[in-house]
């Protein structure tokens, strides 16, 4: 082999050994191994300068551990050139400085033999330095990413906690609304019970419950039985109402096959009376009775929330001849339920934000700002559908789209 060739080939092998690894230890170990093997170095050591500690740490050592004490720390050595050779007795050290780090090779040869090696190292020094910098930059980037990941995890955990809190607040708000609806539903039957009781009391106080003759006795008995029957009927209605509300509050664990019109009817069973009292006309147009597989209670909760919002805004804006139009139809793969009111619509500048948490236009105590946020979460994340709102010439329209399964 030609001598010149050997130098070129050693350079080639060393440059190749730098490789593409972005792990400093891996890259350095591979380079040291090849260089040590090819040049007959007895041992080699790579010191990495750690700026945080303002000192050197050992990154990689190859060779007999017994030789390690011969290697002096770079910070106790005099500042030399980038590549330098020092002889101590039979030991000759080749020092290479790379980006503040230090690489040292131990030889049992004289300084003259190492002059050519210095030239060879010098020929690929900048490539090696670039590779070391790339490794360090990559390491820094990884650390930044890890910090970022940790921060994201923390924020996600915070958000989860916030969601829990929102859910809890939403439940409490809904409970308040429910109590209000129960009050509406119960006012009429309770009034009726009270009226029946009052008429019985009046008869008794006026001594009109006559038992003096068989005929009068029969009439009084018939009156009492009729009154009791009416009371029982009202009580039954109250019980039925309670069941409706209880079912509404119980979230579904499993999907149920149900039509959208049925869900609308269930909702109107709960809120219908309240709307009726506020003279809000409800019109339901059912173009499709196709059943879909969904979480019925949750969807009912969303419909209820939209109807309640419509009721509130109608009342707030004192709309004349208020009405709510509910339309059910199929559009390709979607089952669509739209709820439209004539309350004047949503101001365009707030329309994009109405589904965000804690966003409310309702005056103080009425709005939690969670109803539409929860509605969107239920329809889009839980039921895999879509919900959005738009303005019509006379009011607002909320559209809920659900797939068959």
């Amino acid at each position: 082999m030609q001598y010149l060739n050997e130098q070129l080939l050693l350079t080639f092998e060393c440059v190749s050994s730098i490789g593409t690894s972005l792990n400093l230890e891996t890259m350095v170990e591979r380079f040291l191994r090849v260089f040590t093997r090819k040049t007959g170095a007895l041992a080699s050591l790579y010191w990495q300068y750690v700026s945080e500690e303002k000192g050197y740490v050992e990154c990689c050592f190859l060779g007999k551990r017994a030789l390690k004490p011969l290697f002096k720390r770079p910070d106790v050595l005099p500042q030399n050139d980038q590549i330098s050779v020092q002889t101590e007795g039979k030991n000759t050290f080749l020092y290479v400085t790379i980006d503040n780090d230090s690489m040292v090779f131990l030889f049992y040869s004289d300084t003259k033999d190492l002059e050519l090696l210095c030239s060879i190292v010098s020929s690929f020094h900048s490539k090696l330095e670039n590779a070391v910098r790339a490794c360090k930059n990559h390491h820094d980037l990884l650390e930044i990413n890890q910090n970022l990941e940790r921060r994201i995890e923390e924020e996600v955990a915070k958000n989860r906690e916030k969601d829990k809190h929102i859910l809890q607040q939403s439940r409490l708000a809904q409970m308040g609304e429910m109590i209000s609806m129960i009050a509406h539903q119960w006012r009429q039957p309770l009034g009726s019970i009270s009226a029946v009781a009052a008429s019985i009391r009046l008869k008794v106080s006026l001594d009109r419950l006559d038992t003096s003759s068989e005929e009068a006795k029969e009439q009084s008995k018939a009156f009492l039985l009729d009154s009791m029957g009416r009371i029982e009927s009202y009580v039954q209605f109250l019980t039925h109402t309670i069941d409706d509300f209880r079912n509404f509050f119980k979230p579904d664990k499993q999907k149920e096959r149900v039509s959208l019109s049925r869900l609308v009817n269930r909702t109107l069973d709960i809120i219908g009376k309240a709307l009726e009292i506020n003279t809000i006309a409800i019109k339901v147009d059912v173009q499709s009775t196709h059943e879909i597989l969904t979480y019925a209670s949750e969807v009912t909760q969303v419909i209820l929330n939209i109807l309640k919002n419509a009721e509130d805004v109608i009342k707030e804006r004192h709309i004349k001849y208020p009405h709510i139009f509910i339309h059910i139809e199929e559009q390709e793969d979607w089952h669509v339920l739209s709820i439209e009111d004539n309350a004047g619509g949503i101001p365009p500048h707030i329309l994009p934000y109405i589904f965000e948490p804690y966003f409310s236009t309702k005056s103080e105590k009425n709005g939690s700002g969670l109803g539409l946020y929860m509605s969107k979460t239920i329809i889009e994340e839980h039921c895999g559908g879509m919900i959005y709102a738009e303005n019509t010439p006379i009011g607002a329209r909320f559209i809920i789209k659900l797939k068959e399964e």
């Binding site: 082999m1 080939l9 080639f12 090819k38 007959g40 007999k64 017994a66 060879i120």
Partner: protein, 351 residues
């Protein structure tokens, strides 16, 4: 390191010849060692199987070399993939190791073993194995069991002289081993390694690849890994799939290689030079000479192999016994450089 070296034709005869003590047994491939299990409890041994063993000026395919260890010599068998239990005494001056020649952990094991050596300590040894090249063979053994993927490590305070030579010369090169994976050389100069190797060997010799076993060709024309200002390290391909070459040791990607040729006279002379070198680094006269010689050299030299043994023994006093093995890979650190796993090389230790 060793008090006494002897040779025995069969394992049965050991029952009468061995006395209480610790032994290293180097066993030739065709020896039945089943009866070793019934040796007396006060006889402790570690052993390894090789294609042939060497005693005096002969090689044997049947028989056992018996080396009785001195009291101060430490011996153990360690797994090559887990060296945590390997601890060498600080006063160690020489380590003799026989590894599982088929192990894929050779390089890493030798690096860790070497790192533990004291500054002036030397190491020599070889790869055990059989000519059947059966990687499932249990090549290392002791009183209790046989092992695969283990190594024998013998450490001693004794200073040893060491000589390492091969005698192969470059016939073509340099080339670049552009793609390598472990022991497989996939591409030379970006082309299928086998095609390149074949075309070169056909160019420089009259060998017909279709009529000659590949193993035989590779013995004559191994590869040499080039080092700066140093002798190359031989890597012998032992099989091919028609595209890649499988070597009996690892090769790094982008290594510079040459194709070598072995000529009998040069190989024999190299063995003699190794013997001379082993004396240069040994202060006192050796009590025995340990030869770790590659089986490929034996197969290449054929009937002239005896000349290599004669060349080696001619360097020493005639009373110094020569013993050793024909191995699958040789281990040594020359001139205190890093440890290497050689092929086709003659390693001689003056003990």
């Amino acid at each position: 390191m060793f008090e006494e070296i002897s040779f025995c034709e069969s394992a049965e005869k050991l029952h009468t010849s061995l006395t209480k003590g610790r032994y290293l047994l180097l066993v030739a491939n065709k020896t039945d060692i089943a009866s070793l299990a019934s040796l007396n409890d006060d006889i402790s041994f570690v052993g390894a199987v090789f294609p042939r063993v060497i005693y005096q000026n002969q090689t044997f395919e049947t028989g056992i070399i018996i080396a009785k260890m001195s009291d101060s010599t430490l011996s153990c068998i360690v797994p090559m993939d887990n060296t945590t239990q390997l601890k060498l005494p600080e006063e160690t001056n020489a380590v003799l190791t026989f590894i599982d020649g088929y192990s894929i952990h050779t390089d890493r094991f030798l690096e860790i073993l070497y790192a533990q050596l004291p500054e002036q300590a030397r190491i020599l040894g070889g790869g055990s194995g059989t000519m059947s090249l059966d990687p499932s063979s249990y090549l290392i053994f002791d009183n209790t069991q046989r092992y695969t993927n283990y190594a024998i490590v013998i450490a001693s305070k004794q200073n040893v002289g060491l000589g390492i030579k091969h005698g192969w010369t470059t016939v073509m090169g340099p080339f670049i081993a552009t793609h390598c994976s472990g022991h497989t050389l996939e591409k030379i100069n970006f082309q299928d390694a086998y095609s390149v190797y074949r075309s070169i060997v056909e160019n420089i010799s009259d060998i017909a690849f279709d009529q000659t076993p590949f193993f035989t060709i590779a013995q004559r024309f191994p590869l040499g890994v080039v080092r700066y200002n140093k002798d190359f390290i031989i890597r012998e391909p032992f099989s091919t799939n028609g595209q890649t070459l499988t070597l009996n040791a690892q090769i790094d990607a982008n290594s510079v290689i040459s194709i070598l040729e072995g000529k009998a006279d040069a190989i024999i002379e190299a063995a003699r030079e190794a013997a001379v070198a082993s004396l240069h680094v040994k202060a006192q006269a050796p009590s025995s000479v340990l030869l770790i010689d590659c089986i490929s050299r034996y197969l290449l030299l054929e009937e002239r192999y005896g000349e290599e043994l004669d060349a080696i023994t001619s360097v020493y006093d005639s009373t110094v016994p020569l013993w050793g093995v024909l191995s699958l890979g040789e281990i040594a650190n020359a001139n205190q450089e890093g440890i290497e796993f050689y092929n086709n090389t003659c390693v001689i230790g003056s003990l």
